[in-house]
Symmetry: C2
Subunit: 198 residues, 2 copies
């Protein structure tokens, strides 16, 4: 029997991906024992991030600044736009340091089964950005799943009227694998071997 | 490339048991996306627990009150004291509702290899509580490991001068456990402690 406050915290922590009720319980005890070295700094850091971090109005990345650090970086290539489903994919791509262009977060994948249609995703802003005159190539970095490929086809269709190259990363990506969980080498190799969509 | 603030939060979350850098990353994204329903309530709950929850000065349990709810409960049996290494063990025992006495948290196990000696653990307060005239039995609920058994022997030795019964929980087959998947030590202990069928 632990207190109501502790049970509430365990319940909330258990909702995080990768944690269940048992590991949440262990985590709370760990936080209470390491109050000064972990608990208090974690609480402050969490409040700071939730307070200060917002989606970038240009690309959809999460950052404390808007536009985000990537969008605001003058050294990055405005001519190449990399379309990803999620912010996690930006982080995965940035870890490889294999891409120096700009990003565009769709906010998910087209999924008839889940009821995710084009209106739910950031396609209009993608077309607007891709047609701004500076962009010469759009890389559709979408997973090799049914939803991912459906989304890639739809995106290529929406972009087809523009005078730009639309590419996809090479099929070095394992079928069914999501970008977020892949090793850096595979992601980098797939980017280097990207090809035009016919 | 995520912001310094996000990286710091990922680093802190990754220190929790059961989370690594990858799952911490996913957790942070999840918190940012579910800001209202999860992120903000979790931050408030965490602050509340770290602010309000303290170790009970009697038994060592964590609670918002001191003495804790268990120590303050007049319906519990003052005659039986259950010695556990950690607060997590109190929670595990309380979930079973099989024990209605009081607890005493040692704060760990004797471990010559880790340099944990008797001074680091709550043995003096254990002897004082066990000798208060009300306690008639001390249950040493310690794990069946080398450190656990060393600690149990030491505790039994420290308590030997008192007019009380010192017991340990039975070792045997876990309820629902199949012989085939159990370790040799458990099977051997269960066999040694066999009893007649009435």
């Amino acid at each position: 029997m632990s207190s109501v406050e502790i049970e509430r915290l365990i319940g909330l922590l258990a909702k995080l991906p990768g944690l269940g009720p048992r590991s949440a319980r262990r985590a709370v005890l760990h936080l209470l024992k390491k109050r000064e070295s972990l608990g208090d700094p974690l609480t402050r850091s969490l409040a700071e991030v939730l307070e200060g971090v917002r989606p970038c109005s240009v690309c959809g990345n999460f950052d404390t600044t808007d536009p985000c650090a990537i969008c605001a970086d003058p050294r990055r290539d405005d001519a190449v736009l990399c379309v990803v489903p999620d912010v996690a994919d930006i982080w995965a791509l940035e870890r490889t340091a294999a891409f120096r262009g700009r990003y565009h977060v769709l906010g998910g994948l087209l999924s008839p089964l889940d009821g995710t249609g084009p209106e739910e995703l950031a396609f209009s802003t993608l077309v607007a950005r891709a047609g701004n005159g500076q962009v010469r190539e759009v890389i559709l970095a979408l997973p090799a799943t049914v939803d991912g490929q459906t989304t890639a086809h739809y995106a290529a269709d929406r972009l087809s009227g523009l005078e730009i190259r639309v590419t996809v990363p090479a099929h070095g990506l394992p079928v069914g694998g999501e970008l977020e969980f892949l090793d850096d080498g595979t992601i980098a190799a797939a980017l280097r071997a990207r090809r035009s969509v016919e």
